[in-house]
């Protein structure tokens, strides 16, 4: 039997993998994939809580509505994000995050 705990552990693991990737990886595209993974982990948590949060015999769907908003917003974010990464590639011919280091101090 798969319980709420299982879902929560899986999503927590996904979230941590995503976070570790954002911190550790250098390629901007890979970093962006990891960011999407963090959002997916959050969505999984929402859906799990929603499915197991039974109210009056029915699952509470409020959180599932939020998931749709999250997916939509994530798509908008990717559209803008990829455009910025593309602009960076055009300017520098590289997308490694350590190539952007002119601003510091």
């Amino acid at each position: 039997m798969i319980t709420l705990q299982h879902y929560l552990w899986v999503s927590a693991a996904l979230f941590c993998i995503g976070l570790a990737g954002v911190v550790a990886r250098r390629n901007a595209l890979v970093v962006y994939m990891c960011l999407e993974m963090m959002l997916s982990a959050a969505n999984l948590t929402l859906v799990a809580f929603s499915r197991f949060g039974v109210r009056d015999g029915l699952p509470d769907v409020n959180a599932q509505a939020l998931v749709f908003f999250t997916i939509t917003v994530a798509a908008a974010e990717v559209a803008v994000g990829l455009a910025i990464i593309l602009a960076l590639f055009r300017a520098k011919q590289r997308i490694e995050t350590d190539s952007v280091n002119a601003l510091q101090g």
Binding site: T45, L46, A63, A76, I84, L88, V100, G105
Partner: protein
């Protein structure tokens, strides 16, 4: 007219501005941009004078479950609108220099997007549940990605854009994860429901703390709180000046209004996590004031200095949020601080924008001898820096003083000492630009002619800052603001 329709109108005006670009009429475009600036100010003024209907009956039935324009929301709607209008004015002053860095010299996005963001900040302030907050907050954040990296021909600008994008998207992930846990713990996404669920002693405490921590971390990113402030100085330095100004007031207003609403539940009467969250806020605030003030000491770029200053001020506002002083609510103190921070920081950015439009950079070495080149700019820089430092009888002093007083009354001595050290550091790093402006430079440089619109804006901001410093009574009402969920929730 209801405030909801006014905000919708502003967002639509933003879209119309974008469409106008298709018709190649420079003149119509200029009039339309001025008109949109006027529209923002007009709506803000109507709201301030109480001429806009803010009651929940005035809202269409399909939005009333999601929005309620209580006094806190109204305050932040006005803050959002005023900061947008100021940014539009700054863009107009700095247009000549920003144009060099955009593709094809196009400026329309710079004018259109802040209008849409003004509406988003308004809706966020009025939101009654986390779903609305999330959509509005992301509208603001994604718009900021575009604005920061729009001047693509500048390598620094693009670099700032990438840094902001990656860290901003990370904070979004943390925010949604936090919301998921809030939902799991409280069983609802509405602010009123969160407050009542947290007041239930049966609630599981550890997951509740995890949820609160995640939410505070994600919002800490938006308001530039340490340790999530690493992007601030870089992005402020790389982005065009008007956009940096918008980041320092718009992004802060957006983050703080959500933080106020959430903390009302987290710290509310009977909340099981109140003590821990308050301690977390004090630690976070103390860390933020210090990590903003110390690196600022050796900055030579005034733009970067203002970035660190923004971090330090965010720290003071967070310390204010944790305050328990009688007669002053934490929410009220943070709103008051933000309202006083807005004119003084925009004044500093206006001076820098005028200088930049005359090809004078923001480095201390370039500011040397400013008083000879333009006494007016030097005076305005002095006023804004003195206010940011919190000189007594200036508008910046009051907020800092109230925060320190609150800390002393709450017995948070460690945080009090740290805040005092940070304030003292401020007197050093804010006065360096003033000293530079009034010292003489070796080589003679030509005078800076301040254009009429720029001069009007400078005089206006100076007047507001100076008058509010001596007579802060108009802002006193802000101190009692609370973000408590409106009674309308009970009616449903």
């Amino acid at each position: 007219m209801s405030v909801f329709y006014s905000l919708t109108l502003i967002a639509l005006a933003g879209l119309a501005l974008l469409l106008l670009e298709a018709f190649d009429s420079k003149r119509a475009l200029r009039y339309a941009r001025d008109a949109s600036l006027g529209l923002c100010l007009f709506v803000a003024l109507r709201l301030l004078t109480g001429n806009l209907n803010c009651s929940s009956e005035a809202l269409p039935s399909w939005v009333s479950p999601w929005l309620s324009f209580d006094p806190l929301a109204q305050t932040f709607v006005v803050l959002g609108l005023v900061s947008t209008a100021l940014v539009l004015a700054l863009l107009r002053i700095g247009e000549s220099y920003i144009r060099q860095y955009t593709l094809g010299g196009s400026m329309s996005e710079f004018y259109a997007i802040p209008m849409i963001m003004a509406a988003a900040i308004g809706f966020m302030a009025a939101a009654r549940d986390l779903v609305t907050v999330f959509v509005a907050l992301e509208l603001v954040t994604v718009s900021f990605y575009v604005l920061v990296s729009m001047a693509r021909k500048s390598a620094l600008c693009l670099e700032a854009g990438v840094k902001y994008l990656i860290l901003g998207a990370m904070s979004t992930g943390v925010l949604v994860f936090g919301m998921a846990w809030i939902y799991g713990v409280c069983g609802t996404l509405e602010f009123s429901g969160i407050a009542s669920a947290l007041a239930d002693p049966q609630i599981a405490k550890a997951p509740a703390l995890l949820a609160c921590g995640l939410m505070i971390a994600a919002l800490g990113f938006k308001v530039a709180a340490a340790p999530f402030h690493v992007w601030v100085p870089d992005v402020y330095q790389g982005a065009p000046l008007p956009i940096s100004a918008f980041l320092s007031v718009g992004s802060k207003a957006a983050g703080f209004v959500v933080l106020c609403r959430l903390l009302e539940g987290f710290l509310g009467a009977g909340s099981v996590v109140a003590a821990e969250v308050r301690q977390l806020l004090v630690i976070l605030g103390g860390l933020t004031v210090l990590l903003g003030a110390l690196p600022a000491l050796h900055q030579s770029s005034v733009k970067r200095l203002l970035g660190f200053s923004s971090v330090s001020h965010a720290g003071f506002m967070i310390l204010g949020l944790s305050s328990v002083a009688p007669g002053v609510t934490g929410t009220g103190l943070a709103s008051f601080y933000l309202a006083t921070y807005l004119p003084m920081t925009v004044l500093a950015f206006t001076v820098l924008t005028v200088m930049r439009a005359h090809e004078v950079g923001d480095d201390l070495s370039e500011i040397r001898g400013l008083s000879k080149r333009s006494p007016m700019l030097a005076f305005c820089l002095t006023v804004s820096m003195a206010c940011l430092a919190g000189l007594p009888l200036s508008v910046g002093f009051l907020g800092k003083w109230l925060v320190l007083l609150g800390l002393a009354q709450a017995g948070q001595l460690a945080a009090l000492v740290i805040a005092l050290i940070a304030a003292a550091c401020g007197f050093y790093y804010y006065f360096r630009p003033i000293v530079a402006a009034y010292s003489s430079s070796e080589e003679p440089r030509k005078a800076i002619e301040v254009s009429i619109p720029a001069a009007v804006l400078l005089v206006l901001l100076c007047a507001v800052v100076l008058v509010l410093g001596l007579y802060p009574a108009p802002l006193n009402g802000l101190l009692q603001l609370t973000g408590a969920p409106a009674a309308a929730a009970l009616l449903r």
